[in-house]
């Protein structure tokens, strides 16, 4: 893995392997003669035409999932989860899948830049750039004052973190800010209050049998979403193990606006925003009561009860405060207390008001009193968020900037000009800093205000490590040569340091620094072999993980002095404003990735825009409808945005997703939607000092305008057409769920006996019960199959090209409490209606049961799509372009479709082909589970299983025979290869 070698590598150094460029155009004459460029020296890892895989770490959010990067001819073409990584176990979320679009983004900064006297950006060389920085730093050093150099980073644990700290010391500064917009102060604080441990533990959701969440969106952005979604899927799976009949966990989500996580709950409880702490305490009260009855009282329970009455908690009062029925609180309390291994978590960003710590206090207490703290909460493995600078300190740092106390500010992986509320005044503060250096890859809101830009490599181009949790050391490496003239920040810092006499670093390059620091882990591992082989092994595995030991915690006395306060609300409006992190954009960092813009939001199904979510009754009152623009006003500040009707939101609440409304950042993000942070007041959580996201009352008034707000969903009611399936766990347990086989025989014009039952029939089983709607599969499909993006206007016509979409149906029979997600892709029908209507055989049934689409044969009559009952075929209305440098990401195994061609999912036939090719070399057939389509590969909850239906022992055929199984719209006898498994809901007994 030597970089020197890789220096020879041509990014497009091809070889002869088909670089998927344009494709289907019929060419009567010979195409112009191409050139084939061989290597000068052959790259030893690279065989052209064969994929090479590298381990890496996903740096799209602080969760730190492990990656396996698939490269072809020296280009990263696909990201997949590292199956051996303890956090994500092979899966990735939608943001992780879209990581490639950060790497290949055409809006990346292509080299170092300096702002000249008139404020224009001038491209300079790295020598000039580093020289400029050295010069500025020397000036500061000459002044002799301390803390004049400040370094702002995102959450970068690991060696880069320590390097920055040592580097700052050269300039006699400890002025270091580690800033993340979601920084979990209340969680840390609650740990300290309840257990005397100021840390954020890991939760073993998979071990719990009752999960109560007060607004934590743990399947979307909260802490480690892939890990927790996996845990949830395991906990919420109807299991047969243990010989004690079927078992299945329950999940209750309490929040004012139903999030994607809430949509997966067995019971979604709608509370008034800011009253979550009281609800949590109310449940605690009921649970205590129940335990008291069951186990009898003890001193601890008695103390807690008196503490609760000190808080003034009674069930009727809580009911009144939160707007939830008393019965619901009682039921939740009782069920929680009687569960074997319950777990309570919360709150997330959306629910954190000025009293969010109290929610966490109650949640920890709930878990603690039931005695499952050790089983479901792991205090031995803590999240790395302890490194984060608390929000109050960030605010006071901004104040110091305003006073001109900093001469040089260096910014890396942070964009506070966008992510801090406007009321914090960061942009004004930035103007007071004489010299701002940005290491950003993008011209974001902070970088455009800088003076010098030293663009860092993308993590996929650089060496580095990241440790998201105790004992998990992820290691990443260059998977390809850098695309642009960027330089790793570590290298930049080290070479700048070399210009100073007090340089503490021996190493000249960051790789050497990293390697020597990595050796510190070596003895801990007790490895056999040399240090070098440990390093190589770590690179190959993608890191090094240590066992941790769980830590016992007990309730500390500090708790009893803690008093829950009423939420503080700024503003005098009628509506409480809830701002929530977007599953696609996080706080906004994903906004310039067109995949993320075009993939519909899992809950609202909106693309390319942001919106103001209000209850339909409120809309009626204000006489606005979908897309009507309203103005929100809080004090002096105001914002305008289109309305989206959401029945699953409190009536006096409005909700806005984070992530859009960028003023800078790139062509896909700029000028799109609006940023709720521009209106939020600078309210701080009173106990922990975190930012209080939900702390304002705003006024709302219609403006009379109406704009395009594109939703990709048609109807959310499946109209009993056997598309979405839902059963209750009780029915399942009682054995009253039966397969409704609708065998249609002897009703056909044709004899069906010719159809092959021998050989292979590729098929899928998709468990709606596991599918959370997270849309990672959609992004994976975009990446794998060269699916183009079309933009908002085209999406408005339904022309998005996604081969797989998450259809979410709200069952009217359950009054929308159990939305069912149906990932819909080509069903590879046995009796495919699309096939017989194609005039030119461009689509037909192949010998392995696949419904093949031959792109270059298609003439574009579109009849197949009309006749497709599942509407999964996509047509190339235009010649969709992959702008430079996105075209480098294209998968060479998949044709790029030309205009006028129909396309669709074929179960990733290129992967089937690859595995079959490999198996044939070994003289065998593909094994079950060896072929994994991109969607199934990335699914955090393993909801999608692929295999051979004709093999009775394959996983897919076993699942397809499940009593929960059904085929979508079975009545039309399409004999689909996809079997859906009905969603199971495990309702609470209200008796």
């Amino acid at each position: 893995m030597q970089v020197t070698r890789r220096d020879f590598m041509k990014i497009l150094g091809a070889t002869g392997a088909g670089v998927a460029a344009t494709s289907c155009g019929a060419k009567l004459d010979k195409t112009p003669i191409e050139e084939i460029i061989p290597y000068v020296v052959p790259e030893e890892d690279v065989v052209p035409g064969i994929a090479t895989y590298y381990s890496s770490v996903c740096r799209e959010c602080p969760a730190g999932c492990g990656l396996v990067v698939r490269t072809r001819e020296g280009r990263a073409v696909k990201l997949e989860g590292n199956p051996n990584h303890p956090i994500n176990k092979g899966s990735l979320c939608v943001r992780g899948q879209a990581g490639l679009q950060g790497l290949y983004n055409p809006d990346r900064i292509k080299g170092p830049h300096r702002k000249n006297e008139v404020g224009e950006w001038v491209s300079i060389t790295w020598e000039e750039a580093q020289g400029l920085l050295v010069e500025k730093l020397k000036e500061v050093l000459a002044q002799g004052e301390r803390q004049r150099v400040s370094f702002l980073t995102g959450n970068i644990s690991g060696n880069l973190d320590s390097l920055i700290d040592s580097w700052l010391k050269i300039f006699r500064s400890e002025n270091r800010i580690v800033y993340e917009p979601f920084s979990y102060e209340s969680m840390k604080k609650a740990g300290e209050i309840v257990f005397g441990v100021e840390a954020v533990p890991t939760f073993h959701i998979e071990n719990s049998d009752f999960l109560l969440s007060f607004g934590a969106d743990f399947m979307e952005t909260w802490l480690s979403p892939v890990q927790y979604a996996k845990g949830f899927a395991e906990m919420h799976r109807p299991k047969k193990e243990g010989g004690q009949g079927r078992q299945m966990g329950k999940f209750v989500q309490v929040e004012p606006r139903r999030s994607m996580t809430g949509a997966n709950a067995d019971l979604w409880v709608s509370v008034k925003p800011g009253t979550e702490p009281f609800f949590a305490l109310g449940v605690l009260n009921e649970a205590l009561l129940h335990l008291w009855k069951k186990e009898g009282g003890d001193a601890r329970k008695a103390m807690l009860r008196s503490w609760l009455s000190y808080q003034g908690i009674t069930t009727p009062k809580v009911a009144e405060l939160t707007g939830v029925e008393e019965m619901t609180i009682k039921t939740i309390g009782r069920e929680f207390a009687s569960a074997k291994r319950p777990l309570a978590i919360g709150s997330g960003v959306a629910g954190s008001g000025t009293n969010a710590t109290a929610t966490w206090v109650a949640a920890y207490l709930l878990t603690a009193i039931t005695g499952s703290m050790g089983k479901t909460v792991d205090w031995g493995r803590v999240q790395n968020v302890d490194r984060l600078t608390p929000f109050t300190q960030v605010v006071s740092w901004v104040e110091r900037l305003k006073k001109g106390e900093v001469d040089v500010l260096l910014v890396h992986q942070a964009n506070p000009a966008y992510t801090l509320p406007k009321s914090a005044g960061f942009s004004e503060a930035l103007k007071k800093v004489p010299f701002v250096v940005s290491f950003s890859s993008f011209w974001d809101e902070t970088t455009t205000q800088a003076h010098l830009v030293l663009p860092d490599h993308h993590p996929l181009e650089s060496f580095g490590d990241y440790s998201p949790q105790t004992g998990i050391h992820g290691l990443y490496q260059p998977t390809m040569r850098p695309i642009f003239k960027t330089q790793p920040m570590g290298d930049t810092l080290l070479s700048v340091a070399a210009a100073f006499p007090s340089n503490p670093f021996k190493e000249g390059r960051y790789l050497d620094y990293l390697k020597s620091s990595w050796s510190a882990l070596y003895p801990k591992g007790g490895q056999n072999g040399s240090l070098e082989s440990f390093w190589q092994e770590s690179l190959r595995k993608g890191g090094y993980w240590q066992e941790t030991h769980s830590k016992e915690v007990s309730i500390s006395n500090r708790l009893f002095t803690f008093k829950v306060k009423e939420p503080v609300l700024e503003g005098d409006g009628e509506y409480r404003l809830v701002v929530y992190p977007s599953v696609k954009f996080y706080e906004g960092r994903g906004a310039n990735k067109p995949w993320l813009q075009e993939i519909p939001d899992p809950v609202t199904k909106v693309v390319w825009n942001s919106y103001v979510e209000i209850h339909p009754e409120v809309a009626e009152k204000l006489e606005v409808r979908h897309g009507s623009v309203v103005e929100l006003r809080l004090g002096e500040s105001s914002l305008k945005g289109p309305v989206l009707l959401n029945p699953w939101i409190q009536k006096e609440t409005i909700a806005i997703p984070l992530g859009q409304g960028h003023e800078e950042y790139g062509r896909y993000a700029q000028g799109r939607g609006f940023n709720p942070l521009s209106i939020l007041p600078l309210q701080v959580e009173t106990v922990s000092g975190g930012f209080a996201w939900t702390s304002s009352r705003v006024r709302m008034a219609p403006t009379g305008e109406r704009v395009l707000l594109v939703k990709t969903s048609g109807s959310i009611d499946d109209r009993n057409r056997d598309i979405a399936g839902l059963v209750s766990f009780e029915d399942l347990k009682a054995g009253s769920v039966h397969r409704e086989e609708e065998e249609i025989q002897d009703k056909l014009l044709y004899d069906e006996s010719w159809r092959h039952e021998k050989g292979i029939r590729w098929a899928m089983a998709i468990d709606s019960s596991s599918c959370t709607g997270c849309s990672a599969c959609v992004a994976a499909c975009y990446a794998e199959n060269n699916v183009p993006i079309v933009g908002e206007q085209e999406c408005a016509k339904g022309r998005e090209m996604a081969w797989i979409r998450i259809e979410t149906y709200e069952e009217p029979s359950t009054k929308g409490t159990h939305p069912v997600n149906v990932p819909m892709m080509c069903q590879q029908c046995g009796n495919a209606p699309c096939e017989s209507v194609c005039p030119v055989y461009a689509t037909y049934h192949n010998y392995e049961g696949l419904n093949i689409q031959v792109y270059n044969r298609c003439v574009g009559t579109r009849y197949c799509s009309n006749n497709c009952p599942y509407k999964v075929r996509r047509f190339n209305w235009f010649a969709y372009k992959f702008p430079d440098t996105f075209n480098l990401q294209l998968n060479p195994d998949v044709t790029v479709r030309d205009k006028g061609v129909m396309e669709k999912c074929t179960f990733c036939i290129q992967r089937i082909r690859e595995v079959k090719d490999h198996a044939k070399d070994e003289g065998r057939l593909p094994r079950d589970g060896e072929i994994v389509p991109a969607c199934a590969q990335t699914c955090p909850t393993n909801a999608i299983v692929f295999g051979d239906l004709n093999d009775p022992n394959s996983k897919v055929s076993r699942l397809s025979r499940s009593e929960r199984g059904y085929h979508a719209i079975e009545s039309i006898n399409t004999k689909t290869a996809v079997t859906y498994l009905k969603k199971v809901h495990n309702g609470l007994r209200t008796a």
């Binding site: 070889t15 010979k30 000068v40 010998y847 998949v894 036939i909």
Partner: protein, 174 residues
């Protein structure tokens, strides 16, 4: 009068049919000028260097691979010094630049073709590439058009089952 017009019409029809068929050229390419006058006749013919010596990936990847300049230099550090064409190789090597060969055999991008599968199935290189060992300048001998592929696939199928696989569209189209 009328007869003349009839004659004219039929000639037009005939010509347009001929033109249409003519456009769908069935043969291969002519010789293509390469940056270095590399002769397969000398290498593969006279000197009997096996194909896989240079096209190393042919039995393990989709692509056969064009030799890296390093491979050329493996021999030409010693062999053929002083010859002007060999000097060109040295120039590229010294500049650390790849040789911009012109592609002779070019399949459409929507075709999946694996050299490995064909080599392993015992298809000789000459079957498609012609008598390379006798060519000074390589030219495309076979049409590499779909019908040409299919004819061979058909002839190699042992039974109906194999024919189904070999004539499956998805075998070659991606």
């Amino acid at each position: 009068m009328a007869a003349r017009i009839f004659a004219l019409l039929s000639v037009t029809v005939f010509l347009s049919i001929a033109l249409f068929l003519g456009c769908q050229k069935l043969g291969g390419s002519g010789p293509i000028q390469q940056p270095i006058a590399f002769s397969h006749k000398i290498h593969a013919g006279d000197n009997q260097i096996p194909c896989l010596y240079c096209h190393t990936y042919a039995d393990r990847s989709q692509v056969a691979g064009i030799p890296a300049v390093e491979t050329c230099m493996g021999c030409h550090k010693i062999v053929g010094l002083g010859k002007p064409e060999v000097q060109k190789v040295h120039d590229y090597w010294n500049k650390k630049e790849p040789i911009p060969w012109k592609r002779v055999h070019d399949l459409q991008d929507f075709v999946y073709f694996s050299h490995k599968r064909h080599v392993k199935a015992g298809v000789a290189c000459e079957n498609c590439h012609g008598q390379i060992a006798q060519m000074d300048v390589v030219e495309q001998v076979s049409s590499l058009k779909m019908g040409w592929c299919v004819t061979c696939h058909e002839s190699r199928a042992k039974d109906k089952e194999q024919l189904t696989v070999l004539k499956d569209c998805a075998t070659c189209h991606k």
